[in-house]
């Protein structure tokens, strides 16, 4: 191709290869070239994501570490932050407002702290999800990786954050007379199910937030409403005793309330199965499967469009 005039460009511009007389698509097919940036099949996508598992984990841990790297106390804040949180809630709701209506004091404090930590896990996963793509456009436009790595990585970061909070939670539970026993093993399945649910939400909001970054401003209000409706600081059946039964049922079956209640059931000595709605485990599993699978497919459907400004 020694022609350097406009003609050479124009000849190419019609999509015809100069030597073969083939169209661009034909030439591509002949040499096995594929469309750049096309969306892979769902199975292929899962495989690519699996290949990137080390990146997903490393990225989430890096984010977690970077969070407190400028503080003098450094990583100690991983535990100190939830501890201070728990202290504030204990002071306001336990000592001043005495919102423990119908619950023993020894049950109420761990009840409250569990609620706050478990809900924060979902809340921060959603908020991180909204910004997962829209806040990392530089990364999305510079490197190649399945985009789902980002929301999954952010959800994983929140899980690790929660694991630090669990240290505080165990201490609070023990301080109020709930000692480690076999039922504490149930914490593991609860965490797994809630993590799946949160990852699904993060994926859904990552796609929504990539199209509408305004969600970052709107979601805090939605999340706060959700928090008050899920019984973080009060027991739903006791508080809504004089309201219609269906209302309490609906609130109790919402995923945030289910995961909180199951965690309390596993952890707290005086919080028995009579506080759980019927089929609590099945509902918890159902929410996790529905949101995780649905969210994943929903996110994958727009894979080739992330990164557009």
């Amino acid at each position: 191709m020694s022609e350097t005039t406009h003609d050479a460009t124009v000849a190419l511009g019609t999509g015809v290869s100069p030597e073969e007389g083939l169209t661009a698509a034909g030439l591509a097919a002949r040499y096995g070239l594929t469309v750049s940036g096309a969306r892979p099949s769902l199975a292929e996508y899962v495989r690519q994501l699996w290949d990137r598992r080390h990146f997903i984990l490393a990225f989430s841990r890096a984010k977690l570490t970077a969070q407190y790297s400028q503080a003098k106390l450094g990583q100690l804040w991983q535990v100190a932050t939830p501890l201070l949180n728990a202290a504030v809630y204990f002071f306001i709701f336990g000592m001043i407002l005495k919102a423990n209506r119908g619950l023993d004091h020894d049950v109420y404090i761990p009840f409250l702290v569990t609620g706050v930590f478990v809900f924060t896990f979902t809340q921060s996963s959603v908020m991180a999800g909204v910004r997962a793509i829209s806040g990392n456009l530089g990364l999305v436009r510079a490197l190649h990786f399945p985009r789902a790595s980002l929301p999954i990585s952010f959800a994983l970061q929140q899980l690790q954050q929660l694991l630090y909070s669990m240290i505080v939670l165990f201490a609070v539970a023990a301080a109020f007379g709930s000692y480690p026993d076999l039922s504490w093993l149930l914490i593991v399945p609860v965490l797994v199910l809630q993590f799946l649910f949160n990852t699904g939400l993060a994926l859904i909001f990552a796609r929504a937030g990539s199209r509408t970054p305004d969600l970052a401003q709107l979601m805090p209000f939605v999340m706060r409403t959700w928090m008050y409706a899920s019984g973080v600081m009060f027991s739903i059946p006791i508080f809504l005793a004089d309201k219609p039964q269906w209302l309490a049922n609906v609130l109790q079956l919402n995923p945030a309330a289910i995961y909180m209640d199951l965690m309390r059931f596993a952890l707290i000595e005086g919080y028995g199965s009579e506080n759980l709605p019927d089929h609590a485990w099945a509902v918890a599993g159902g929410w996790a499967a529905l949101i995780a699978l649905g969210g994943f497919v929903y996110f994958w459907k727009a894979e080739e469009r992330y990164g557009r400004g």
Binding site: E3, T4, T9, G13, L27, S36, A38, D51, F55, A66
Partner: protein, 258 residues
């Protein structure tokens, strides 16, 4: 032609490629809340969004073994075109066909200033798709190449403590550690001090040899002359000339009045 001693195998085919950016909140000069509200209330197509047509109908075929330079004034669409070839920016219309996965040389976006250089080497490597074993194998090479540790044990300090030159050297060293089929370099040559520049130019020549096809965006006509045998000249998103380096550069220099 095809049966000459070496068959020309296409690695990248761009076919009538158009790229359009959508910029939110840039429709009017007014950025006040009331202006934004009135934009929302005024019904119309894509309120408050301004379109920037960055690449307009570019077509070309790149072959294995070619080193292609992209030139043009600032904002002519060079970097955008590279990102589109890499499949990182979705095309408005038209297509790019590639052999394997083209990659941009650069990991800046994946690195975190609050982490140590050591962890950034690992994170950057993973972000580029290297395996843990590959990174372990090349770790020492990356650190030695960057020369970060020449003046003390800096690799275990957070990157925010580095001078801008040191950070740029580490970033280049990480990015250049991976082999690529189709490699794209966006003005990466001008980093660090003179000594490091020579070393990085050498490394780019090495990468060129391993890679099937190389794209280089640069404003330095000298580095284009040194590395490329073919040049695409973009102006206002359109492909103005496509041909051997000397001929296109002669036209370009005439155009820029040099």
């Amino acid at each position: 032609m095809a049966e000459q001693h070496e068959e020309r195998i296409p690695t990248v085919i761009a076919d009538e490629l158009h790229i359009v950016y959508r910029v939110h909140g840039a429709k009017t000069g007014k950025g006040s809340a009331t202006a934004a509200l009135s934009r929302i209330l005024k019904r119309g197509e894509e309120r408050g969004v301004r379109k920037v047509h960055a690449v307009k109908g570019v077509s070309f075929v790149a072959y294995r073994g070619e080193a292609i330079g992209l030139i043009g004034s600032n904002g002519s669409g060079k970097s955008t075109l590279l990102r589109a070839i890499a499949g990182l920016l979705p095309a408005e219309s038209g297509r790019v066909y590639t052999n394997g996965q083209p990659s941009l040389l650069g990991v800046n976006a994946a690195l975190m200033n609050d982490l140590t250089g050591e962890r950034n080497v690992i994170l950057g490597g993973l972000a580029m798709g290297m395996s843990r074993e590959q990174i372990k194998e090349r770790y020492q090479g990356i650190v030695d190449f960057s020369g970060i540790n020449e003046k003390g044990d800096f690799i275990t300090l957070p990157m925010r403590t580095y001078s801008s030159g040191m950070a740029a050297r580490l970033r280049f060293s990480i990015a250049a550690a991976k082999d690529h089929d189709v490699l794209m370099i966006d003005e990466a040559l001008a980093t660090g001090d003179r000594k490091f520049q020579i070393r990085s130019e050498e490394r780019i020549r090495e990468l060129r040899k391993q890679a099937g096809t190389v794209f280089l965006v640069s404003h330095s006509n000298k580095s284009i002359r040194d590395t490329c045998d073919r040049v695409l000249w973009l102006e206002r998103g359109e492909l103005r000339l496509d041909g051997p380096t000397e001929e296109v550069l002669k036209e370009y220099e005439k155009f820029t009045g040099k």
